[in-house]
């Protein structure tokens, strides 16, 4: 493993204690069970095996929590983040990246290779949804398990911090309830499968005529169609004005939920360079523009009797769902957690984040204020900002952080060793401390 931390040697390998290894081994057995089923393509006893897999992973998480967090006084737990292969782009990090990426590739384009996993989760699917499992159910189950298990880990990691505990509880709640159980129950009750926390344009399908027509005959579906639009046009500006984009990105959204829980060990891998910021602004706004244009074309087709833009708009839609919906948000967005950090999609791709960001930047009370002259320029805030914001650049100048991309996770404030940063809301900001010293 290459050690990027110090120019010299690799620090002592004693970084992982015996009990931590037990924890990792336990979780590893669970994951291995899943891998075996995946590779075998079928499964004999799905119920015991799936329960065992989940049980082992949960046991691993709990042992890890005990060994790594509860045995020590509460506080910031980032020791060795840049030394461990898993969290510092070492061999384990790459392996994990390949594994997740492979799963996403199968999920989107080769679901036939997921047959074993689909069988594995079939009993669950029948229990919840009263119908057979498909690859999307498998995906939802993995996703929810990841948010819940890693959420538990995160809550213990930050057990001294009520903001972090509450926020994590919130994303776990929304993932389990609104992105897993409720859509499943709706199916069971013969309603359309609705994800109440995903709106257009993050869920790009939701704003299209296809979605509208698909909901016809379902009062609930039609309601959700207009609810989603209202959230976009009215809900987002109002909520973002008062709370910043965090009301969605780090408290509700499922993508954010996964990033904040399963992605937390990788948050320091985000790129902090000015170049990355430039790419981010260009890219995320282009994607928002594309999605708006694409959706508009689809509606113009309907309005004009499906004549003029027919082919182009369908082509656009297909392009978007392949390049952005699948490759970017899934394969790269999650598959590359161990390589590029946890919020690549949220930062460079998500059109909803772009829209929230515009409001956050232009019309919001939300800001991160800086505590006078206390900053020692250490860089913890910038390093652990999953959005790659160079928080230190603001803090050392005594300047409020007002950035479109900030998801309000509050980690910069948590890791700051000098109590410099606070997430809060007001229409103006304190006089910059440094300009008063002369």
């Amino acid at each position: 493993m290459q050690n990027e931390s110090l120019s010299i040697s690799v620090p002592s390998p004693a970084y992982t204690s015996a009990k931590q290894k037990i924890a990792i081994a336990l979780a590893g057995i669970g994951i291995l069970l899943v891998l075996v089923v995946w590779a075998a393509g079928r499964v004999v006893a799905p119920v015991p095996i799936s329960l065992a897999a989940l049980g082992f992973v949960l046991a691993g998480v709990l042992v890890f929590v005990r060994e790594e967090y509860l045995k020590y006084p509460e506080g910031i737990k980032n020791n060795g983040a840049w030394f461990r292969g898993l969290t510092a782009r070492g061999v384990w990090g790459w392996l994990l990246g390949v594994l997740i990426t492979g799963f996403y590739v199968c999920l989107y384009w080769f679901p036939q290779y997921l047959a074993g996993l689909i069988q594995l989760f079939d009993p669950f699917s029948r229990l919840l949804r009263d119908r057979a499992a498909d690859q999307w159910f498998v995906y939802g189950a993995f996703y929810t398990a990841a948010v819940l298990f890693m959420g538990i880990k995160f809550i213990y990691k930050y057990r001294h911090n009520p903001y972090q505990r509450l926020r994590t509880f919130s994303v776990m709640f929304f993932q389990l309830g609104f992105a897993f159980l409720i859509p499943g129950l709706l199916l069971r009750l013969q309603h359309p499968e609705i994800y109440f926390t995903y709106f257009w344009p993050l869920s790009y399908y939701q704003g299209t005529p296809m979605a509208y027509q698909g909901y016809s005959g379902s009062g609930l579906g039609t309601f959700f169609f207009f609810f989603g639009l209202a959230m976009f046009f009215i809900g987002t500006p109002i909520l973002t004005y008062f709370f910043g984009k965090r009301w969605y990105c780090s408290w509700v959204c499922g993508c954010g939920g996964l990033a904040e829980t399963a992605g937390d060990p990788f948050r320091h891998l985000s790129d902090k360079s000015l170049t990355a910021w430039k790419i981010e602004r260009w890219m995320i706004h282009s994607i928002l523009a594309f999605v708006v244009l694409m959706t508009a074309l689809l509606w113009i087709n309907v309005a004009t009797g499906k004549s003029i833009f027919q082919e182009y708009s369908q082509l656009f839609y297909k392009m978007y769902s392949f390049a952005i919906g699948s490759v970017f948000s899934g394969v790269v967005g999650v598959g590359f957690y161990p390589l590029l950090g946890s919020r690549v999609w949220c930062r460079f791709g998500c059109p909803m984040a772009a829209w929230l960001g515009i409001w956050q930047k232009k019309k919001s009370k939300f800001r991160i204020t800086v505590n006078g002259g206390q900053c020692i320029s250490c860089g913890n805030c910038s390093t652990y900002c999953e959005m790659g914001i160079d928080v230190r650049a603001y803090a050392q100048k005594g300047q409020d952080v007002v950035r479109a991309s900030c998801v309000g996770c509050g980690i910069c404030s948590a890791v700051c060793p000098r109590g410099v940063l606070r997430l809060e809301g007001a229409n103006s900001h304190p006089p910059a401390f440094l300009s008063r010293t002369l």
Binding site: S5, S9, G372, Q374, S377, S382, P430
Partner: protein, 450 residues
């Protein structure tokens, strides 16, 4: 004009940045320690694996070219103040029109037997960090000598690598020359809670050599022999002025400067850790080896050089630190034992990891200092109160305004006020909670009335 800045720490770099903002002068920054400016304050986090070297460099590498700040990695061995030239170890001779000395500090060594053995190090320079790294492999124990801010950081560093640590502290309680007894006791408890072998009232007697000039063990003033492969000497720092002694430069402990940061030599300034202010402002010391004073001096000297002579004005004392998991902030004057004329109001959380202390003048009631453990207070608010000499009974009901803890954290101001009421028989209540809108109102009001 050609400006040479000797030292690429926070003070030298801040000076360079502001000179560039204010002028087109030619700027060269010289350092023998590192190619690029890094945050010395973050050394510990590199060792603990929280950050890489790159992460503790506040500016990207292109920054220097873009801002036309030339960087030279070399050691200055001699300065000829008359001829206005520097001599470097690599044999270069460099002329200057203005020279800013920002040469920082060095670790103190008090002539302990064995202090130059292999495995005995202070923690100040990047190279010290590398030495710690080299010695950490298979290290049986580290002994840290000196109970100050750097000592406790070093203890935390080794502890993070699961290396046993013994921590020798001369005083009867950790950092009790600065912290009041309760806060100091809190940190003693916390150090022990982390499993560090804290030895109070214990001094280093001797470092014993082993094979190949390596240290093997130490003996203490209490007669103990402790085997250890590493000894951390963290008994304070002092200005790094050795190479300037016996020149025309006026030096006491540090390089003596007036309020404009001018030395006794024409066109030569000194800033940061190495500067000793001849007449410090009331409530400030002549040498203050902290981050923000270096930054303020750098900004000040840039104004003096590029605009008009500007006096260094650090304002009211403040500082912060973190002892393992407990954050510490101070605003104003807090004495380990307050003088008779002052009262000290203290509240401590039942779990013993948070406290609030307010010191105030018994006679006038004016608040004189805030000391916080495990709780964050807002600099601007405390400073306003201190500056205006606000009465304790006006501060207490509004104390919530000062709270800077994140949302949903409990606020303990009313518990402190209850303590005050208990002591005085008064009946004050906390009227204000934390929050930016109220703070802005408060700050603006104070502004217009002052």
């Amino acid at each position: 004009m050609k400006i040479i800045i000797l030292g690429n720490g926070v003070s030298g770099i801040t000076a360079a940045r502001y000179i560039r903002k204010l002028s087109d002068h030619e700027i060269t920054v010289i350092s023998d320690e590192a190619d690029y400016f890094f945050s010395r304050t973050a050394l510990m986090y590199v060792f603990m694996g929280h950050m890489r070297r790159k992460d503790v460099q506040p500016y990207e590498d292109w920054f220097w070219d873009k801002n036309r700040i030339a960087l030279l990695r070399d050691r200055v061995s001699h300065i000829d103040f008359e001829a206005k030239t520097l001599q470097t170890a690599h044999g270069k001779s460099i002329a200057y029109d203005k020279l800013i000395l920002a040469v920082g500090s060095q670790s103190n060594k008090f002539g302990w037997p064995g202090q130059d053995l292999d495995g005995v190090h202070g923690l100040y320079r990047w190279q010290d960090l590398e030495a710690m790294e080299r010695h950490s492999r298979g290290l049986n124990r580290a002994v840290i000598v000196g109970g100050g801010l750097i000592g406790i950081e070093m203890a935390e560093m080794f502890h993070s690598r699961h290396i046993p640590v013994t921590f020798l502290v001369r005083e009867s309680s950790f950092w009790d020359i600065v912290l009041p007894p309760q806060e100091s006791a809190m940190i003693n408890r916390h150090i022990n809670e982390h499993g560090i072998g804290l030895r109070l009232q214990t001094e280093l007697k001797e470092i014993l050599p082993g094979e190949n000039g390596k240290c093997r063990a130490i003996t203490t003033s209490t007669g103990e022999t402790i085997p250890c492969g590493f000894v951390g000497l963290t008994a304070g720092v002092s200005p790094n002025v050795g190479f300037l002694k016996n020149t025309a430069l006026d030096i006491n402990r540090g390089i003596l400067v007036n309020e404009y940061l001018e030395t006794n030599q024409p066109d030569v300034y000194a800033i940061g850790d190495c500067a000793e202010i001849r007449q410090p402002q009331p409530g400030r010391r002549s040498i203050e080896a902290v981050w923000y004073t270096g930054r303020m001096m750098g900004e000040t000297v840039a104004h003096t050089i590029c605009r008009q002579a500007t006096a260094y004005n650090p304002g009211i004392w403040f500082n912060s630190a973190k002892f393992f998991d407990i954050e510490y902030q101070v605003y104003g004057d807090i004495q380990p034992r307050e003088p008779e004329t002052r009262a000290s109001l203290y509240w401590e959380h039942a779990e013993g990891k948070k406290s609030i202390r307010l010191a105030y003048d018994r006679h006038s009631g004016a608040v004189t200092g805030f000391n916080l453990m495990g709780i964050r207070y807002r600099h601007e608010v405390c400073e306003k109160w201190l500056h205006a000499g606000t009465q304790i009974e006006e501060v207490l009901p509004n104390l919530g305004l000062a709270n800077f803890d994140p949302e949903f954290f409990p606020q303990h101001e009313s518990e402190l006020v209850a303590e005050y009421n208990r002591q005085t028989g008064k009946n004050l209540v906390v009227k204000r909670k934390r929050g930016l809108p109220a703070v802005l109102q408060f700050l603006n009001k104070q502004h217009s009335s002052s």
